[in-house]
């Protein structure tokens, strides 16, 4: 299939979806709006809101009556005051990056450590499984209690999500080093440190990077969910504030900005992946 045709069809899907949304919300069919504006907003309104958000930079995701002097005193929590959309994005991005870096680092260290010590791994096994089975959202309140409404409670939530993905992948990567490659490396007279650098590490990294999309995605999820539950900035906060005032347009605008944001990050991850895993054979239908 040619690239042009593919792009054309991809665009068509968007056009049809937005078209249905537009007709449902703006054109009465038999006197009834299938997608009432109050609940679904309209594509035009949402597009205008997004445009305005990025253009004038005041970052008012909700419609605010002006002026609102009293609430300015509580400006940290004031949706109509202060932060631009860029600041919200930066906030979420910072949380996501911190959550990913800390979670990945902890996952790598513990993954290696336990993979090389089967006894310890057996001791901790039920607890790791238990923690991993726990829905992480229930941890959010406790993190807020411990770390406050600022950036760190969201980072902590993201870390608990990222950690387990990276941990299990690194653990598996160390365990599943090809025995032949390992025996060969040992026959080439590698010592423990060299085995780590040339065999275990690359193998674990290949596993970790294969889950990079998932773990980066979870870092962002942790940040947004944390913001949604209690925060003064960030995309999750932006959406939550809009929702609080029944501002459907604001909710949809926030959601679309978030989706774009995640797409850009995912694209960056793909770039990193292609650069670092250049040695890996193409996934399916590879030669031999």
């Amino acid at each position: 299939m040619s690239r042009v045709l593919l792009l054309g069809l991809q665009a068509l899907v968007a056009v049809v979806a937005i078209g249905i949304w537009h007709i449902g919300s703006s054109v009465p069919i038999g006197g009834v709006y299938l997608l009432p504006k109050f609940f679904f907003s309209t594509p035009m309104d949402v597009a205008q809101r997004i445009g305005k958000l990025f253009a004038d930079g005041t970052g008012k995701i909700v419609n605010c009556p002006e002026p609102i002097q009293i609430t300015n005193l509580l400006s940290i929590a004031d949706p109509c005051f202060g932060k631009t959309v860029w600041q919200h994005l930066t906030f979420t991005l910072t949380e996501g990056v911190l959550a990913f870096v800390i979670g990945a680092a902890a996952g790598i260290v513990l993954g290696f450590w336990l993979a090389r010590r089967p006894f310890l791994s057996a001791v901790f096994d039920p607890y790791i499984k238990m923690l991993n089975a726990l829905p992480r959202v229930v941890l959010a309140p406790i993190f807020m209690l411990w770390l406050g409404l600022g950036i760190w409670s969201k980072v902590a939530l993201g870390v608990t999500l990222v950690f387990f993905i990276v941990f299990f992948n690194v653990y598996q990567g160390v365990k599943e080093v090809s025995p032949t490659v390992l025996a060969n490396a040992r026959m080439l007279a590698m010592n423990e440190r060299q085995l780590f650098a040339h065999v275990y590490w690359p193998s674990a990294m290949s596993w970790m990077f294969s889950s990079l999309h998932t773990s980066v995605g979870f870092a962002i999820i942790g940040a947004v969910v944390g913001e949604y539950l209690g925060s003064a900035a960030g995309l999750g906060y932006m959406i939550q504030q809009a929702e609080g005032t029944f501002d459907t347009t604001g909710v949809f605008a926030g959601m679309i900005i978030l989706a774009m944001f995640v797409l850009v990050i995912d694209w960056c991850v793909t770039l990193v992946e292609n650069r670092l895993l250049v040695w890996r054979p193409p996934a399916a239908g590879g030669r031999e």
């Binding site: 032949t180 490659v181 025996a183 080439l188 007279a189 040695w279 890996r280 031999e288």
Partner: protein, 256 residues
């Protein structure tokens, strides 16, 4: 350990000791609960310092196990292995091992895979890369140094493995059906390549294969280049067999 051992080995080499000598070596694998499963029965086998010895037998008769004992990857249940007269403890530092499966590191290019063998011995990277390139040329891969293993054919990967093993200049070469997975034609080409390289310094070679023709072909060529020629095989492996009977047979039969 390695320095002193190497000295002793060198001394033993000059004294004309066998490169590898199995003395009463047997290997049992523990089977869940029961008695050990005898993978290799009592084996006495000797490989001279410049001999090309092939061990032939069908799959599952303990050939690879014997090779792993020689490499020091596996400790024998009884008996001992002498390497140039010294009992082997731990890995056999005099040996290069060419595995049946792909053993090169998939995350390194062909050149890096060969160079790493030198780098871990402390050779500077620039020099290691240069010598690696020279070895790639000797195995006919000079244009493929930048390729990753998955971008090479099975035969080419074997060549990389061969260069990786030989660049360290081991005194003993252990080969575990190295060309087994290749097609007949490539196998022949690789056999000739091996013999050409071997003719240079005639290392001791312990070559394990299930392919009698390959064993004979290689040792014949060994004869041709003037090497000692003895193809060892465990006769009992050719009969209708059980694994125990197969490995219990006499270890070696000389072929003139």
């Amino acid at each position: 350990m390695s320095d002193r051992q190497a000295e002793r080995d060198t001394a033993a080499l000059h004294a004309g000791a066998a490169a590898i000598r199995f003395q009463d070596v047997s290997v049992d694998f523990p089977v869940n609960g029961g008695a050990g499963y005898p993978a290799v029965g009592k084996t006495d086998l000797q490989i001279g310092a410049h001999e090309f010895v092939a061990v032939v037998g069908p799959t599952g008769c303990g050939k690879s196990t014997l090779l792993n004992v020689a490499a020091g990857l596996l400790a024998p249940t009884t008996g001992q292995t002498l390497v140039f007269g010294a009992p082997l403890a731990g890995l056999n530092r005099n040996a290069g091992y060419l595995f049946q499966q792909d053993a090169v590191m998939p995350w390194k290019t062909a050149r890096d895979n060969v160079a790493i063998a030198l780098e871990i011995a402390g050779v500077a990277r620039a020099e290691a890369l240069e010598r690696a390139q020279a070895w790639l040329k000797r195995v006919g891969l000079s244009a493929f140094g930048d390729r990753y293993p998955h971008q090479l054919s099975g035969g080419q990967r074997k060549r990389v493995g061969l260069a990786q093993v030989l660049i360290r200049d081991p005194k003993v070469l252990l080969m575990d059906e190295p060309f087994g997975p290749l097609d007949a034609q490539t196998r022949q080409i690789m056999g000739n390549l091996l013999l050409d390289l071997w003719a240079g310094d005639r290392k001791a070679v312990l070559f394990v294969t299930h392919d009698l023709e390959e064993a004979i072909a290689l040792s014949d060529r060994g004869d041709h280049v003037g090497g000692a020629r003895r193809a060892h095989h465990r006769r009992s492996c050719y009969r209708p067999r059980t694994a125990a009977r197969c490995v219990g047979g006499s270890a070696a039969a000389a072929v003139p």
